[in-house]
Structure formats: structure tokens, C-alpha cells
Amino acid sequence: MNIGHTILAWALVLASTSASGNVFVQWTSSALLPAKELGLNDLVLSWNASVSTQARAARSQGYRVYVEMALNQAAAVSEIDASDFEGIIMHVRQSERADLEKSLPKLRAAHPGLKFLVLNPDGKQPQMKGSLVVKHGAVLEVSSPTAQPWIDTNLALVKIEQRSQQGQIPLYTFAWEGSSDSGNQTALTATDFSLAVAEAGAFHADLILQLDERLQKGLSKHDPEAWALWKQVLSYANFCSHTSDQEMEAAANVAVVVDDLDPTDEVMNLLARHNLPFTVLGPSDLKSSNSEGFDVVVVFSKPDRETSERIADLATRGKTVVLVDAHGSYPWQSQDATRLNEQAVSYALGKGKVLELSEPVTDPETFAQDIRRLLGKENVLMSLWNGLTTVAVPYHVHGEPVKVLELVNYAGEPLRVQVQVKGSFASIRYETPERPCCESLVPVKHDGFTEFVIPDLRIAGRVHLGTNQTIDSQPK
């Protein structure tokens, strides 16, 4: 690289406004490898009495060290030597969110030299699901009408974190399934780890990756098998770490308005699995101009007077608003009602409409399909064929067409996926951790949409969409 290129590269790094897809490693065994050897720099230690000693040792091995602690342990922050740590990761359960909002600003003010990150510990192991669940040598009953067996994804959780922790890149972790049955867990594979890393990267979130004891030992003992696995994981971590020169955000034209930010909400999980790009909003967001860009707004919170006027306004200007199980008296009810079925009534307002569903969503799968229908063919941002195990997230610069599509295949084996994206794109370039940037794919344009075929999506893939034949922006 010549000096000019070097300067340009640094300028791009300095100009970057967002970075995500960072992998924090949780290492529990005593024999820690140097950061340079492990290939990742951010290390997470659990809070304990000797954590400062451990942190010092880890720092000397080249790590940026974070200590993870529960909110009720926060007082212990004053006991540590801040110079040994990069930051504190607050492990926060859903029920503690209100307390966090009060204590976090105080902690930040009291310890300006430390980064404070909020961790959602309630992630799921990303995986393709079957109808059978094998646990500790036994097959147990699974399945319910709302728990579709196809995939476990953390997309809804990330969307919720984006809403709750504005200003911080979502950070989550999960426990590997069966990890509580020590000694009986099926060996985790390179695909398991790579999928976890790929998922966080595709969702532009950060992940604390828990390394199982077997892998830690293997890496410490320089076992070739463990290192072959880890090298694949590292290639995914490199692929998924984003430093963008432009502020990219997830594109979405469905808004879900909720009072409770509950990641177990099956409606959001089903919207995610059906590849319906959505954003989570709180009731207060609805009152602001934040809801302008959505074609469908699904409201799960009971609207107050101001919110219901805002809903009426959105509908009048052409949006479809779905109000779920929110009985009451609202301005649109003075309009003529069309009964859709026993549970649903539609009110036409100006160019749009308000649909009232008189009961909670009993079938999230059907509800997600209904939302796709309500969007109308012309407003569907993207569609996937043969993509039952694939989740795709479109990104764009605000107000511009989709620029990047991140894809994750939970089946972990090469899959031919047909994709349709709203917009007219002349250049489609595809990259994966296995195949560096970029392979050109053939776009087929029709009716305002562009179709292309991804030949072999294994775990992670990234598609760059350009409106000109020339390269619009240089991917990293």
C-alpha cells in the first residue's frame, strides 16, 4: 500500500460514524492466549473478587478488558482500578430496565474513564429448528401454534435493543443450548460459532461470544482441530465487523408500536422470520415525525387522545394502521366501517385506513402474512424465495434506496436463494467470508423491483446494490 492509499484508508476510518458486528470473547479458563494469537481483542470477564488481577494479566496480553456485572453489583465499580479496564458491561434483565435508566447516567458521570455498555443476556442460540428437540439424550415434546419450528433468530431482540438503547450499538449474548448439562453437550461446531457471529454482524449488533470449555482448552493446547474451527470463526468475525463511511441504517417500512419491549413477543419474531423489515417504536415515537416513513404501522399499545389523532393523521395521508386489541372510542370510528371478519373492522380515512383487530394476535404466523398483504405488492421492500431458513436485513442511507443486504442462512449449508428488492439496481455485487468481494450477480428489473439469484449462501452473505453500472461505493 502506498502513502496515498494509507492516508485515504485512515481518512475513511476517522470519518466512520458507525461500527458494529464486534465480537467480545468470554473466556473462562485460566490459560488465556495472547490477544494477537487469538485474533480478537475485546475480552469479557465476569465480576468476581479478583477480577482486577485477571484484568491486569489480560491487558498485558493485549486485550481490551471489560467486566460484566449485574445491575445490583454496580456499586462494586468504585472498587476496581479503572485503568485496568476498557469498560463495564451491565447485564440487565427486562424487569431492570427502568432502574437502569436511573443508574446508568450516574455511573457514567462518576466514572468518565470507563465505557458503560448495556448487555441483553436473553438472546437465543441462532439455529435452524426441527420438530424434535434432543436434550441430554432424550427427545422431548416441542411445538405450539405460535412457536414455528423453523429458526431461532435474535433479530427481534436486536430491533428492541435498538429502540431501548438508542446511542449504543445493541449488545447481546446467549447460552449455548445444553450448556447447563455440563459434560453432555454435543460438541459445538465451526458452523455454530460462525452462525452466531454472522447473525450479530448482519443485524449490526455486537455479540459476547461464549467459548465453551472444550474449545478454550483446544486453543490453549494448540490443538489443530480447535484452531481450524477458530480460524473459520475469525474469518466470519472479520467479515462481519462493519466500519462504514456513511451512516447506514436498517431500512424498514413496517413500524411496531409497543409499550413493553419484550423480545419473546412472537409477532415480532414472526415478522423477522418472514423477512418483513420492521422498526420497533414506543408510543411516544408515534407522536413525533419518526413514523412518517412507514407504510404499515401496527399499534399494540392503547392509544391516548394525542396518539389516536396522530393515527388518524397517518391514515389520512395514505398509511395503513393496525390497532390490536385496543378497545375504545377513536376519531376514525365516525367513518363508515367495513367488517372484514368476526374480529376485524376497517375504517377508510383519506388515502389510507385504520384496521381494528378486536382481540390479541392469536396466530402470529397468519398475522405476519396479513401484514405482508396489507403492504401491497408495490410496497414490499424485499422478498426471498427458497429462503425459509434465511433472514435478510436491508440497509440504506436515510432517504435513499437500499444499498446493502445482509443475509444469514440458519441451515448452514449452501442454498440457492432468489431475492427481489424494491428499486432499480444496475449493479449487484455479492461477497461472503469464503469468497472475498465481490462477485457480480445478474439483475433482472421489472415493475420497480430488481431480482437476482444468490447461488450459494452458506451462512453469511452481503449484497451491495448499486444504481449505476460503476461501483457506487467501495465495500470494506
Binding site: L132, G137, A138, V142, T366, F367, R372, A411
Partner: protein, 346 residues
């Protein structure tokens, strides 16, 4: 007719009591694998003394399903079925033996059901599939045009391996039988490799039980119950069960789209039932469950009288139950669990 059984897939559930690794005196080990094939998730749980052997056998079974997907898929443009759909109009085409066999079996079910089961409904399925994806309800004119292409009588089978379509627009869709056929072939592969006790599941909606878990009389399978009141179960050994159910009605619309099309009306089937059908082979249970859903209980029971080793149950959301009890029996209300001490569900 339907293009797949995805709806029902999520709703069939299973419970089994299994021998933990190393617990049994015979040291039968359970190996479980899953793979995404044919647009759905196939799962195999197999007992064997050698986990390596069981694992290898399951991989071979999956390879067989992948091979069949390459023949029977209507999604893959280079499949044998896609070739046939492109070129067999008024012209006899040679086809691979597996494709011939599965079409032959499908036509037998069409005859048995007087055309209710019909693999030639593909054009109608595609029309309504587009409606499910938000394209709006098809017009009567569109429906009529497409209906003229449909009819199993227009499929001419010329033994041993040729097929011709007596229509300029006939198209076949094997979604109602192809997965069952693949499950049967996968079971053959497992058997040929010495695996005797295994469960093969295609998308949750079609299950084939080989042998039984160690020291158990069979594989206990809980069937789909839209009412959540009946809890039907079957103890399967060397047999198969499949479940069919129409797409759930829209929560926010008044349209009548659905993935199972009635060939008589050309429109999505309207039914209050989910149907589970038990038979000796997965091909038969797969085709039979769709057939029985389309026929309804009264006509369905009449068809089953002419068949051996079959059982079936229709259950509505309001817990209306209709059964045909053959061998093996479908039992209601958890009656299998207590006498056989199969353990409690978590």
C-alpha cells in the same frame, strides 16, 4: 390440493421416551440430525450401537432426499419434473424411475378419490399462492383459464418410464406426495445400512417410524389437534402418519386464499378440519391426508373402507372428531401414556 403442508408442519408434535447414552445394557445410542431439503426441514432420529454408523447412515439418507429433490422439485428449473412440465405436452417423455413411480402413485390416489387428489392442480396452486403473497384475489376469468389446464386424466403413463400430457398447459406439482415418497426412500437407505429403529420427519407433517425406541412398543406421536382438547396419539411402528390442514384464515381480511385447492371448485378448500392419516408408507399417508381433507369425513370414510392398514382422524377447532380406526389405532385423550409408562411431557 396443496403445494406443501407447512401450516400443519408446525403443529404436529411428538413425545418420546428415549434411552440416554450409555444407559441401556445394549448401549443403544440416539443420533439426531436435521437438514433443510425440499424447502423444508427433514429430521432423522436413529438408534444404533455405533453413533458413527448411525450418523453415516443418516447422512446417506439425506443424500438420497437431496437426489430426489433434484428430480421432483418444481422450483428447480433443471429438475426432471421441470423438464417434464416443459416438454411432455402431447409428447411422450422418458423420465427417471423415481419420478415415474411417484406420479404413478399419485394418479392411483386421484382415481381412488375420484379426482379430489390431483397433482395437476399446479396452475391453480400458483394462482392462489400469488394471492397469499399479496397479489390480490384472482379474477373468475383467470380461474377459468387456469382450470382448463387441470385434470389428472390428462396424464398418460406409458410403462415402464414414459409420460405424456394430453393438454397444452398441464403442469404437475408433487408437493402433496413428494416429501412422503422421499421419506420412504430415506427409510430404505437407513434399513439397507442396518439401522432398524429410527424416526424420519419431513417438515413436521409427515413422519415415518422404523422399529421402535429401545424397550418400547413403538414411537409415540401426538397428532395435530386444532381444538387443544382431544390430544390424539398413535403408537407407530413401521408405519407413517401425515397431517394436512388448510392455511389459517386471515386475521385482518375477508379473503379466502389458502394453499390447498379443491380441484372441483378451482378455489381454496374451505374446511373446519385438520386431518391426520396413518398408513404403512409415507407416500400413502402423505397423499391420503390431503385426500381426506379434501373429501371431508363422510366421503373420506367411504374411501378408507377399501384400504387396508389405515387410520384417520378429522378434528375441528370446536373439537368435532371423526375417526376411522384401523391398525394402528389412533387413541384419544392421552390413553396411551399411562398404561405404557412412557413418561411425562415437560
Amino acid at each position: 390440493m396443496r403445494f406443501d403442508k407447512r401450516r400443519a408442519a408446525a403443529l404436529v408434535c411428538f413425545s418420546l421416551l428415549m434411552t440416554s447414552v450409555g444407559q441401556s445394557s445394549e448401549k443403544q445410542v440416539l443420533v439426531y440430525k436435521r437438514k433443510y431439503i425440499m424447502g423444508t426441514i427433514f429430521e432423522v432420529a436413529a438408534y444404533d450401537r455405533s453413533p458413527e454408523h448411525a450418523s453415516h447412515a443418516i447422512e446417506k439418507a439425506f443424500q438420497e432426499i437431496v437426489r430426489l429433490d433434484g428430480l421432483l422439485s418444481d422450483y428447480k428449473p433443471d429438475s426432471a419434473l421441470s423438464d417434464l412440465n416443459r416438454s411432455a405436452h402431447f409428447r411422450a417423455e422418458k423420465v427417471p424411475s423415481d419420478l415415474y413411480r411417484v406420479i404413478d402413485q399419485a394418479v392411483q390416489f386421484s382415481r381412488l378419490s375420484d379426482g379430489k387428489f390431483d397433482i395437476s392442480v399446479a396452475p391453480l396452486v400458483n394462482l392462489w399462492k400469488a394471492s397469499l403473497r399479496g397479489d390480490g384475489t384472482p379474477s373468475r376469468a383467470q380461474e377459468e383459464k387456469v382450470r382448463s389446464c387441470v385434470g389428472y386424466q390428462k396424464i398418460e403413463l406409458i410403462p415402464p418410464n414414459q409420460i405424456s400430457f394430453r393438454s397444452p398447459c398441464l403442469q404437475l406439482d408433487l408437493g402433496a406426495i413428494g416429501k412422503g415418497y422421499a421419506v420412504d426412500r430415506a427409510a430404505e437407505v437407513l434399513h439397507s445400512m442396518g439401522v432398524r429403529d429410527a424416526l424420519i420427519i419431513a417438515g413436521g407433517s409427515t413422519i415415518f417410524a422404523m422399529g421402535s425406541p429401545p424397550e418400547q412398543p413403538g414411537w409415540l406421536i401426538h397428532l395435530r389437534d386444532p381444538s387443544n382438547k382431544i390430544d390424539p396419539q398413535v403408537m407407530l411402528k413401521d408405519g407413517s402418519v401425515s397431517t394436512s390442514e388448510q392455511t389459517a384464515p386471515s386475521l385482518l381480511g375477508n379473503d379466502s386464499a389458502g394453499h390447498i385447492i379443491d380441484p372441483d371448485t378451482g378455489r381454496p378448500l374451505k374446511t373446519v378440519f385438520a386431518v391426520s392419516a396413518v398408513s404403512r408408507t409415507a407416500s400413502a399417508s402423505d397423499a391420503l391426508s390431503t385426500t381426506l381433507l379434501l373429501l371431508g369425513p363422510a366421503k373420506g370414510k367411504a374411501v378408507l373402507k377399501s384400504m387396508a392398514d389405515v387410520s384417520a382422524i378429522w378434528i375441528s377447532h370446536e373439537a368435532q372428531v371423526e375417526t376411522v380406526i384401523g391398525n394402528p389405532q389412533i387413541l384419544l385423550g392421552g390413553t396411551l401414556q399411562t398404561p405404557l409408562s412412557l413418561g411425562k411431557l415437560p
